[in-house]
Symmetry: C2
């Protein structure tokens, strides 16, 4: 397809999504739930066609030499489709945030004024070769009353085409407006750049690696849900409980090291370091964690052939490892820990382990991050764990929403004002 | 000053503001209020120096041939400074939004989780030749715990320099961090473009005409409070009360025609047009309002030598008149009114006048605007009128805040999580 034609088509899709979003804004919860229910059913009913389309992508990706990890993320089979369908039903069961009326009050002049929750409008999503995102993001947007415009990775074009067909037919049958789910079926790179400048898109949600997220954040004209990058510290304070500290640090690092809320650096107060570090290192060592230690940590822990120890270099601070590696630094005070986090943290999740009231409160007040913990693992930063039911992403910016973004965070509000002939005096 | 030097200085100011904002985030309300109190006092104590600096700007602007309206907006005198100082004291008296803890709850696993209100960080403000904005925006930012970076119009560089000196000395005396108020003292146009790409600025608030706002919105890499442009409709429904309709339309158009929440277009149902239009036109005519009428409205009202009537042209729909002019259109149904508003409205303030329950509710639900009114004048869209105390601007976007933005809308939150050794299972 000619690029100009593809761009014109993209613009038309934006207009169609915007038009649909106007209707979606006040469609009933019943219709939205019916649409989600249909999607879950159809995913199962049409699993053979979906898997066949996915097989085409898979074989091409294999031939193109994609890594085993990428091929695994790309692959759909019956059990994965069953899992996706069950996630759709879980979103169907969540409460609908749209339509909530709040902050309602009567002004002295008798005007009755408040706010009503409304969808944001059109959500653009740009993502890599993971076909499950096609369903995931569509379902979260539809439940929160938003139209969606999807641009998936070119490696999954056949899978996405099949999945979008399922979604579009399923929602139409429920009575949702045409155009609520738009799919960009051209894989030209220029279309991504064009999408990032489209006035019909109200918010962009990138899903993928750090490179994609940075590209979108740097180039989008509309708000972006940035996040997904977490350089997370756990600070073990002078008066920390050793058993709690070891358990929390171990969990934060080992339970799932490849995700954004996993621990990257351990900061430990100098007074407790001689007791804490050997205890935690023994546990981390059993899990195969490599420790990049500053001079003082290294002199406490090493040499020790049963541990993977390395001297830390400057690049270790502020690095998201996404692996069984942790940086370790001994600090002289909570002030030094706070300054380190301020300098190297990414504003995602930070934790202090302490039995000291004042240290805990200082950490809570002074650390500037989406999620600040006392005596708990940073691994809890998650929409499901926080009770939001589902999660569109984790925001590390301060505007609009911070931390896990659930359905409510995909909405805005309008002021509603009830008068009885009110005019402004003066 | 060399442009490169000016840009390096701008970057340094951004860093200084960011550093100050970290401290401002948890400074006490007492210190913030003391700072505002000092500013109000010093504005009065140093009024002679401020007025002398303003006179330099005034004479240069006069020589440069600025219009009388622009000169008037630029001018400071003793009574205006007294007014500004009294506005500062009004903000001092408002409640501090920062530190509020909300949505606190205990999860089934015993984690205690909630949100704490925090400032946004560093607010950049780019504005035109109105020195009062220097004080206004600084005071609103400081009270909400934000640092501020000011770039005023080059025509008021001397006034702004004098005012910023007052602010900086006043806040330092109260114990606020150095660097909380930064002033860009170079008037090079390139600095505005550079500011719009600075990672140290968390939010940009443009203040000025539509050209400035559009330029900032199109070029900023960070969130922007867009707004200040209102194409506002009042729809007089089939079952409207004529007396209320006339009073509401008259107020919305005439009470202060030069502001963004003033009426731009009257839509009237065909069944009530023959009664309503002559009644409202008679009142509007007395105030000198010019009516740009569609064919049917014109045939009802004209010819009439005591009215200023013109046939409407396409450009009249969707135009913000900011003057004693209103477009008038007769519609066949509420559907036609809703479609017209969807097509031509700017998402600011829209009103319906009706005694019909279903029409009122449909309008409220279906109109997508920051403020939607039933039986009231759109002139109420204002932070003061809505009970927010003060107003940073009126947002016509849906992200973060919509409608009048007060102190609370200049904040974000962080999640705070209290554990007792919690780790994530699985």
């Amino acid at each position: 397809m000619e690029l100009n034609t593809a761009i014109a088509e993209l613009e038309a899709r934006g207009q169609a999504a915007k038009a649909a979003s106007r209707r979606l804004a006040y469609i009933s919860t019943e219709v939205k739930n019916k649409a989600l229910h249909n999607i879950a059913q159809d995913l199962l009913a049409q699993k053979d066609q979906i898997i066949a389309a996915n097989q085409v992508d898979y074989r091409q990706a294999q031939a193109a030499g994609l890594t085993a990890a990428m091929l695994d993320r790309l692959m759909l089979n019956a059990s994965r489709l069953e899992g996706i369908a069950s996630d759709v039903l879980a979103v169907e069961a969540l409460p609908d945030p749209v339509g909530e009326v709040f902050d309602m009050r009567t002004l002295p002049n008798g005007l009755v004024i408040g706010k009503k929750r409304v969808p944001l409008g059109v959500i653009g999503s740009i993502y890599e070769a993971r076909p499950n995102v096609t369903i995931d993001i569509s379902v979260l947007c539809l439940k929160s009353g938003n139209a969606v415009m999807l641009r998936g990775g070119s490696e999954t074009i056949n899978s996405n085409t099949a999945l979008v067909k399922v979604i579009q037919e399923a929602i139409a049958r429920a009575g949702m407006p045409q155009g609520a789910v738009q799919f960009v079926d051209s894989t030209a790179r220029e279309l991504v750049e064009h999408m990032l400048r489209m006035r019909t898109i109200d918010l962009i949600v990138p899903r993928g690696g750090a490179g994609l997220i940075k590209f979108v954040a740097d180039n989008a004209c509309m708000p972006v849900v940035t996040g997904g990058i977490g350089v997370c510290h756990t600070y073990v304070d002078k008066r920390a409980d050793i058993a709690k500290s070891v358990a929390i640090v171990y969990n934060a690092k080992v339970q799932r090291p490849t995700v954004c809320n996993a621990l990257d650096a351990i900061l430990v107060h100098v007074d407790i370091a001689p007791t804490f570090l050997p205890a935690v290192a023994a546990e981390l060592g059993k899990a195969g964690v490599e420790l990049h230690c500053d001079r003082r940590a290294l002199s406490i822990l090493g040499p020790n052939p049963s541990l993977k120890l390395k001297p830390a270099v400057e690049e270790d601070w502020g690095k998201e490892f996404l692996a069984l590696i942790a940086a370790v630094k001994v600090v002289d005070s909570i002030d030094e820990a706070l300054a380190h986090i301020e300098k190297y943290g990414s504003g995602h999740s930070e934790s202090i382990v302490t039995e000291d009231y004042t240290s805990g409160m200082r950490f809570l007040n002074e650390v500037d991050a989406a999620c600040v913990y006392i005596n708990a693992s940073t691994r809890f930063t998650d929409g499901g764990q926080f009770g939001l039911g589902a999660e569109v992403g984790i925001s590390t910016q301060k505007f609009h929403a911070r931390g896990p973004m659930g359905l409510k965070e995909m909405t805005s509000y309008k002021w509603i004002i009830f008068g009885s002939g009110h005019v402004r005096p003066g």
